[in-house]
Symmetry: C2
Subunit: 699 residues, 2 copies
């Protein structure tokens, strides 16, 4: 069966049978029938119950075979013990897709897993597609389809129509988002609880949402990634379709990963690579589903944040000040307003108040009507949001006279300014009128300042890292110096590989013996470093085969002797010495190439030395990467201050560092045999990055 066709049967069925329908709303079968009848799907509805008759006024059939027409979709509410029979019945009656709500399958242990496999085999053999099991069903507001058992649905008189398409691996969280969505005025096109994904999976739904003309924003709650390659392809398609993708993935931490594993069959996968892939494709990443919903609520208006400047508006000086403290801590800034903006505000505020945060409490009496925005509050919000330094805005409402007016002014400006403008409702039910207005307008609001700051932080963070256009290959395998045989590369081999990839290295000479080493040291002048080269030796430092700070011939000779002795004792043969000048580094980084089993080659950049343990300061980016992406990696390092002219040192040459990262990406692409590469350290000497040591393995 064609894929597009099954998604059509699933989300736009012309006829739906409910197997296990009931009159009793305390049962799933009664609840689901209630929702389906209330929202009156555009098609036929066949309740199935052995007793026949009518249920909730709808003619009911004793079995699928008695239904008067073809059945696109069957919703199975029978216990797991009767699931196999129900699926056989679906097959016999040429049902196209079945939603299995029932639990007791793969999530419940080995027995359930075997049952799930039998059900799946039976369905596949009969040409029946399966959704679930162990799910809460789905909703398509544009088809009046409420095929879900979610408790929240019981509270909806009308479906919350909109452009947010959502798929959730957790049914409970889907239900919570549906409920919160009603309250904040979010509109959904499609909402799907994925369950065990025995057949139709998250990627299928993701694909559908990208195609669906009613969906403009895609929101996913994930616990694991199925078929990572397809997932990445879909991220690219969503990006090409300019549909923002918002994701929450649990299992970001070790403890979270254990929690995910304990309630689902799937492994969470490594978060850092997942994060890097998402960032490279412009995904908005959130920590929890309510933040995700807040993001969708703001983005459904087509706005995006392109500057780190945040405008804060409040009816209270104190409230404004608290937001200013918070945004400073979040890395966002409160810009100075332009002279033009100030001139627009001159009749509204005294000179001292024509600044951020804007305080509505000090609006001048008798401010004239602005030609564009009208009243003073709307004008203040509108003119400040126009300021070119502003990327997004927050309006903080406390309990005050004229609350609805502030809400109206915010919605008016926010709907049209093209920048995210978030309403932080701090007036609780006292401000219900304002809240109701924003809900009815589908504008929405948040009630926690913490939620507001997390949202703005992510809106801006996402802006910094996305890849805009594909990076072409610029390195050819033929240009790269790499041994034909598999295995660990010796240091000279690794150096040749880096040289061929145009990555700058600390200069060095190979010396066959002590005499040549002395000669090399003399040529470098000053202090030198001597290291052993041996085909069998991997961890040189561990056995004392690296000697630093050698500033005399005597020391060079002694070092050569010591290295030879150390190698002999450890059972290695000396191939040669490497002699390099001893450099004074201003900073120390680690860069390299890793290959993620799910997401392929990644370029890594991290703080080196003592900071590795302390800061966990590592950035990943999928290869190949653009110069912009490389720069974003660099700018996101926590140790960034050390690279920007610390204590009078020379700032690092960012262009050179970017070049190294870009070349590593190209190297990963051109040489699939290269399974890993670690340049540690990459020293910054007088602002110039250069590789000192490299470890590499080829397959």
């Amino acid at each position: 069966m064609k894929h597009a066709s099954v998604m059509h049967d699933l989300l736009h069925p012309r006829s739906v049978a409910i197997v296990g329908a009931s009159e009793d709303e305390s049962k799933w079968g009664g609840r689901l029938l209630r929702y389906m009848t209330r929202h009156r799907i555009q098609g036929e509805l066949y309740p199935i119950n052995p007793k026949g008759g009518t249920l909730m006024g709808v003619k009911t059939y004793a079995s699928l075979s008695e239904c008067p027409g073809p059945i696109d979709m069957a919703i199975l509410l029978v216990p797991s013990s009767r699931a196999l029979a129900a699926v056989r019945d679906c097959v016999a009656n040429k049902v196209k897709v079945a939603i299995a709500i029932t639990s007791g399958f793969a999530e419940a242990g080995p027995e359930g897993e075997a049952l799930q496999q039998s059900v799946l085999d039976e369905a596949k053999a009969g040409g029946l597609r399966l959704f679930g099991p162990n799910c809460m069903g789905l909703m398509n507001t544009h088809h009046n389809l409420a095929a879900t058992t979610a408790v929240s649905m019981g509270y909806l008189e009308t479906l919350p129509v909109g452009c947010i398409g959502m798929a959730s691996q957790s049914g409970a969280l889907m239900g919570a988002l549906l409920a919160r969505g009603i309250d904040v005025g979010a509109g959904f096109s499609t909402m799907v609880s994925l369950g065990n994904q025995a057949d139709i999976d998250q990627n299928d739904i993701f694909d559908y949402l990208i195609q669906d003309p009613h969906t403009k924003i895609i929101a996913l709650y994930m616990e694991a990634v199925k078929e990572p390659e397809r997932f990445v392809q879909l991220l690219k398609q969503a990006q090409a379709a300019t549909k923002p993708v918002l994701i929450v993935k649990s299992g970001r931490t070790e403890a979270g990963e254990r929690a995910v594993q304990s309630h689902t069959a799937s492994l969470a996968g490594a978060w850092p690579s997942f994060e890097a892939i998402c960032r490279a494709h412009g995904v908005y990443l959130f920590d929890n589903v309510f933040d995700l919903l807040n993001g969708a609520m703001v983005l459904q208006r087509g706005a995006s944040m392109n500057k780190p400047g945040l405008a804060v508006f409040s009816g209270s000086g104190g409230g404004g000040a608290l937001f200013v403290d918070a945004l400073d801590e979040a890395g966002l800034s409160l810009p100075a307003l332009s002279e033009q903006t100030k001139s627009h505000l001159q009749d509204i505020f005294l000179p001292v108040h024509r600044e951020l945060p804007v305080d509505f409490g000090v609006v001048q009496p008798k401010a004239p009507v602005d030609p564009v925005y009208g009243d003073p509050v709307t004008t203040a919000i509108g003119r400040v949001m126009e300021d070119e330094s502003i990327g997004a805005g927050i309006v903080f409402l406390t309990t005050q006279p004229g609350m609805q007016h502030i809400a109206r002014a915010t919605a008016h400006v926010g709907m049209q300014c093209g920048k995210p403008l978030l309403f932080v409702h701090g007036a609780s039910t006292v401000g219900e009128e304002a809240r109701a207005y924003l809900r009815e307008q589908g504008y929405g609001y948040v009630e926690s300042p913490n939620d507001a700051m997390k949202l703005c932080t992510e809106l801006w963070r996402r802006q910094c890292a996305a890849l805009q256009t594909p990076v072409p290959a610029s390195l050819q395998a033929a240009d790269l110096a790499v041994p034909a045989q598999a295995g660990f590369l010796s240091e000279p081999q690794a150096r040749r590989l880096l040289e061929s990839a145009k990555i700058p290295l600390v200069p060095s000479r190979l010396a066959k013996d002590e005499e040549q080493a002395v000669q090399a040291a003399r040529e470098w002048g000053g202090s030198v470093v001597i290291k052993a080269v041996s085909p069998t030796l991997i961890h040189k430092s561990d056995i004392g085969a690296v000697k630093l700070n050698l500033d005399s011939e005597a020391k060079v000779r002694a070092a050569c002797q010591q290295i030879q002795d150390a190698l002999g004792k450890a059972g290695h043969t000396l191939e040669s010495f490497i002699v390099s000048p001893m450099l004074q580094a201003d900073a120390e980084l680690i860069v390299g190439i890793q290959r993620d089993p799910d997401f392929g080659p990644m370029v890594m950049l991290g703080a080196g030395g003592v900071l590795v343990e302390l800061l966990n300061d590592v950035q990943l980016c999928p290869a190949p990467l653009s110069a912009d992406q490389a720069l974003a990696m660099l700018n996101n390092l926590r140790c960034r201050p050390l690279l920007e002219g610390w204590r009078g040192r020379q700032p690092v040459d960012k262009e050179k560092l970017v070049h190294i990262l870009v070349q590593l990406g190209q190297l990963a692409l051109a040489l699939p045999r290269l399974t890993e590469l670690d340049i540690n350290p990459l020293l910054i000497v007088d602002g110039q990055p250069m590789a000192v040591d490299a470890r590499a393995t080829v397959a």
Copy 2:
């Protein structure tokens, strides 16, 4: 007038006059009269309006002089232009305290400031105490006093009686908290909007709340600290009275401080010292007022968090997993449950589910009734909260059947378990029944997972740093070696001072000349460091008067020559050389003594070297400090991993480091003449902390 008496007149007045009362509720005078009549103060109410007659059914007087009895309190709602006359009238009629709601005083510029001073002078001369101006008044629920213009008050049919006493420097934020408080079931004893604090100030109210028998929790929103000494005394009194104090202070960041200054006359003061003082006195510090309210809501039940273990309960595996990710990032832990706890859960969950996070979705059918807690959900929450590894709990509600039951179970356990148990309501209005139950019980809830995590983080953080008992003095001024004259101490002087304070130092020898230096170097063996001593030289490194890594006699001699030349060039006289062994440090710290103009002597501990710029890793604690406080400083350092056995290095001897911090505190106390002391670096050599260089100034 006695202070206690004025606070009684202010918050328990036997008679209140409203100057500027009105029938029109769109005016402050109408609104205030409406609130006062609705809640019927226990005493006399005299509306004052030139027209006389009745207003809202209450007999109204044309002026204060016509009132039939004495007036404890007058609320002034007249414009600022008529404030002086109104105050004179109060004085003439022997009013005891006046609340000036009106704005247009010190907050509005120099003219307003002058007006405020005149009003204050007039009041003082006449024995009238003043509250405000530019405030929203106050409320005492236990006296049915609703003397506030807060818009939120219009939505209250009954006053929200409870034990949270609150004072806010922002009227708007007070109003917002009153509104949010209604919604989350928080009960207030007293709520005060401070305004400009011309006379009665935050400390007066703080003092009152400590004495007030109806107040168990004290919550303050502050922008500046008036009379820091008194404030600290009050912190001590609140601690002695075991009343938790919760504070939000704006102006934590530079940008926030500017925002505060722009709307209030007061300077915010330095946040780090304020934070240190608060932490030392067990204050809960929050970033925004809603977090503060959430804290008060949880603490009003008398619970406190004494372990970092957090129990997470959820009806959804996905919801649980998201919280686990978040708490891991917040430094809290999800402990393993004890065998005893597991045995209590054995009939409720399968073995694999007898762990955190607890998932209500997998309760076994037919679980028996627990003798203590009854039903399975209450039992699961109750038994897990009893576990000795648990310090606090979070119940996360998604939309699911039986939501009210989960709320009831949470409130039941939470009211009596003595540990904070927070209800995170994620079901929005769909879960209104559960929400209403928690509201009515005065139990409360939060709706944002971010708010929940911030609250738990602060509940635990506060636990770690409070000083339990005063620290006695253990160092006497007479024991300390310090020059009699004021000024900057030379290095030998600073070393003698540290030695007399029993602070370990890197060993050193004084050398009068090059020969003595060579001799000293020989005695130390290995590499040495040589530094210049000169009475006029402060920044030795800057002019090249410090030479490191001298490992031969030739180098020692050369170094002495270079230092002498450098001193000569810079116009300093050489007093002597200091010769010390060159030590290999595993880590580098900075410690010292600072004197805050508001809060007095502080001991400082920070990461040294490159980390200073990078981590802003500084801890302050008021002197003198206890060993526990010193240990908390150490444990709160971001660079802590470097001190605990990094890359196989020896862990720092914490006892020694704690001793140094404690001694610094004692030194600050014993020697008030010591205006500042910086030990930089304090090296950690083979686990032992030792001072290498010290800069000190005495007055």
